[in-house]
């Protein structure tokens, strides 16, 4: 008849204490592991230096390119393109998602068209882009914009569709008009989805540089990667990959910051 007792707060208390390391430091574990793998692969000669440069060689390349100022220049140029492309792409994707998500006729027209366009390789449209937009900065920005629109659209649209109908009803019940409903209920409710799209599209934008910077340019991180590949300078190539990875982490950190401030109302499952 005497039930077994336990401290219900105990287990997790202990776990929390063990997690005294700050979150950003713990998040270095992943990249650190990758670095280790890289050391191992190149150190134990699992792959020739010709195919994949070792960390040492990449560090040398970084020093060389940094010293000559090339690296900073290329990053700056690419950042400009990515910045514009993302800004435009996010705005357009968001607008389309709201139209498709909020109005039934919008869904009929926009959503199927977007699903049709989404799988079309934008790089196959490069000739068309050149004919219509030319070979200047606009073309590169357009390419990035086109790539960014879709993840933003898809995720935000799905986010809108997942907004609890009960909250929409509540909004209506208290006299919110269409604009008010979008601003106060639909957009905040779709925000988690939008942020996934944002995280994804910030990555895609950098990826698209590899294609965008094939057209009439001699700077940018994508250009650097392309030339390194042509030369088979694996040290520069791997350096570019590392930079890409770090940019990915940076974008992720940025979106995490956004999440922390925009989704502070949320109590989601955060792991055990």
């Amino acid at each position: 008849m005497a039930p077994l007792l336990e401290d219900p707060t105990g287990k997790r208390n202990r776990a929390r204490r063990a997690r005294a390391v700050p979150s950003w430091a713990r998040r270095l574990a992943g990249p650190a592991l990758l670095l280790l793998g890289w050391f191992a692969v190149t150190g134990f000669d699992l792959v020739s230096d010709r195919a994949f440069a070792s960390p040492g060689a990449v560090l040398d390349a970084a020093r060389e390119l940094w010293g000559s100022g090339e690296l900073a220049d290329n990053l700056g140029v690419s950042l400009y393109r990515v910045g514009w492309g993302c800004a435009l792409g996010v705005a357009i994707g968001l607008a389309l998602a709201v139209i498709a998500g909020f109005f039934r006729f919008g869904e009929d027209v926009v959503d199927s068209a977007m699903n049709f366009l989404r799988t079309i390789p934008v790089i196959a449209l490069l000739p068309l882009i050149i004919v219509w937009i030319g070979i200047g900065e606009e073309a590169k920005i357009f390419l990035i914009t086109a790539g960014v629109v879709f993840p933003i659209y898809m995720n935000t649209f799905a986010g809108i569709r997942s907004v609890d109908i009960k909250l929409v009803e509540a909004g209506r019940a208290f006299g919110l008009g269409r604009a008010g409903l979008v601003r106060r209920v639909i957009i905040p409710g779709a925000l988690p989805g939008f942020l996934v799209g944002l995280r994804w599209s910030l990555g895609v934008a950098w990826l698209l540089l590899v294609f965008a910077e094939q057209v009439n340019t001699d700077s940018g991180i994508g250009y650097l990667l392309n030339s390194a590949q042509a030369w088979n300078r694996t040290d520069i190539m791997v350096l570019c990959l590392v930079i890409y990875g770090l940019l990915g982490l940076l974008c992720d950190g940025f979106v995490r910051l956004l999440e922390r401030s925009l989704l502070s109302w949320r109590r989601g499952f955060s792991g055990t």
Binding site: K166, L167, E169, A170, G171, R172, A173, F174, G175, L176, G177, G180, R184, V185, P188, G189, L191, L263, S264, W265, R266, R267
Partner: protein, 251 residues
């Protein structure tokens, strides 16, 4: 109370009303929830709606609120209406005050929202996120959200279910005060028979998709629970609700 007169009129011509429902039927699958229901509520009238769990009270309110359109029958409701849902339905991404003033136009919205929050006993909680509110606190924010408006028709779906005795008494007073001030029609769903008798001009019981009972309360206000008419009405309502063993439930 002018209840009886108004009801007589509505039978004949198009008298003023806040709700007018004729032959309302709502079916889910093969489950007939509302089965040709008729209901007229006069402007300024306070009507309590009782009924067993699952009898269709919320369904009726959803239809009157305009959130369910797969119905047959004739439905009319005041254009300016406010609903307190059975769950608080606060926007989780908006703080308490923001939820109260949601969709309110005008300049002094903030002040009115704060005042409404204070009235439901939540002064100082303006900036709380809904997830941090207790069950009763959330319910009171939802109540404040309805009370801060001045609609012609207020529908409340068990608005005091999660409140303790004292808070409940305060909310009763608040609701009565609102009715005195703006005289909206009120459709009030509750499970508490005493509460229904205490507050309403008229009490309805929903059974099997129709109003099986529709009685005016006709007691003076304030209404002493000890009044014999109070006890009689309570007994009648409880019987209608299926509680036969009065000794157990009705003191």
């Amino acid at each position: 109370m002018a209840t009886r007169i108004l009801r007589d009129l509505t039978g004949a011509d198009e008298a003023a009303a806040a709700i007018r429902v004729r032959g309302l039927t709502r079916v889910f699958g093969d489950h007939v929830v509302l089965d040709g229901l008729d209901l007229t509520v006069a402007p300024g009238e306070f009507v309590a709606l009782l009924g067993r769990s699952g009898s269709g009270k919320s369904t009726l309110l959803r239809i009157l609120g305009g959130f369910d359109d797969e119905v047959s029958g004739e439905v009319l409701a005041a254009r300016r209406r406010a609903v307190v849902f059975q769950e608080p339905r606060l926007l989780p991404w908006t703080r308490a005050l923001g939820n109260v003033v949601l969709g309110l136009p005008g300049a002094d919205v903030d002040r009115r929202g704060r005042a409404a929050l204070a009235e439901v006993g939540l002064a100082g909680r303006e900036r709380s996120w809904p997830v941090t509110l207790s069950g009763g606190e959330a319910q009171r924010v939802a109540l404040a959200r309805a009370l801060v408006r001045e609609p012609d028709l207020v529908m409340l779906d068990e608005p005091f279910g999660a409140l303790d005795a004292l808070t409940r008494i305060r909310m009763h007073a608040l609701l009565q005060e609102l009715c005195r001030r703006h005289r909206p029609a009120v459709l009030f769903v509750t499970h508490d028979v005493d509460e229904a008798i205490l507050l309403a001009d008229r009490v309805l019981v929903l059974t099997d998709g129709r109003l099986s009972l529709d009685v005016p309360v006709g007691l003076p206000t304030p209404r002493p629970r000890a009044h014999p008419a109070f006890a009689a009405l309570r007994a009648r309502l409880l019987t209608e609700l299926g509680v036969r063993d009065l000794a157990e439930a009705a003191t």
